[in-house]
Symmetry: C2
Subunit: 80 residues, 2 copies
């Protein structure tokens, strides 16, 4: 069972990495780039066979290690 | 119009960052973590109004700046 996790900065939190990408894109003459936000994407292969148990385990992982919940949101998707 | 981009390491490319996460999770007593791969997730807000044009522009951004296509794959999703 595989978990796909997106970790993104909360709204209102400054994203200097995204800003740097935006400026680089503008420098490469890409027009119309209004905002760039960068986050993390993590794929975890789990031995668990129950979807709800897997989701609860991954949420616990996010809270304890993967995300800084003061400034980041996480989103979990479980795929078979 | 918003583009969501996932940049992931190609199969077979070593992922030391993912391996470090896996070891940290095991150290925190999470069982059954078989593999962890870390990638990047980028959201770009575009002025373009045509989906196909936006997709082509973002693919060009990935080739030129966002992804290292020697070792990374990218996946583009355009949402209204």
């Amino acid at each position: 069972m595989k978990a796909r996790i997106h970790i993104t900065l909360k709204n209102g939190v400054l994203d200097p990495q995204g800003k740097a990408i935006q400026q680089a894109l503008t420098g490469l003459a890409f027009d119309g780039v209004e905002e760039v936000r960068q986050g993390k994407y993590i794929e975890i292969e789990l031995a668990a066979s129950d979807t709800e148990a897997a989701r609860a385990q991954v949420a616990d992982m996010c809270e304890k290690l993967l995300a800084n919940t003061v400034i980041e949101n996480y989103d979990i998707e479980i795929v078979a």
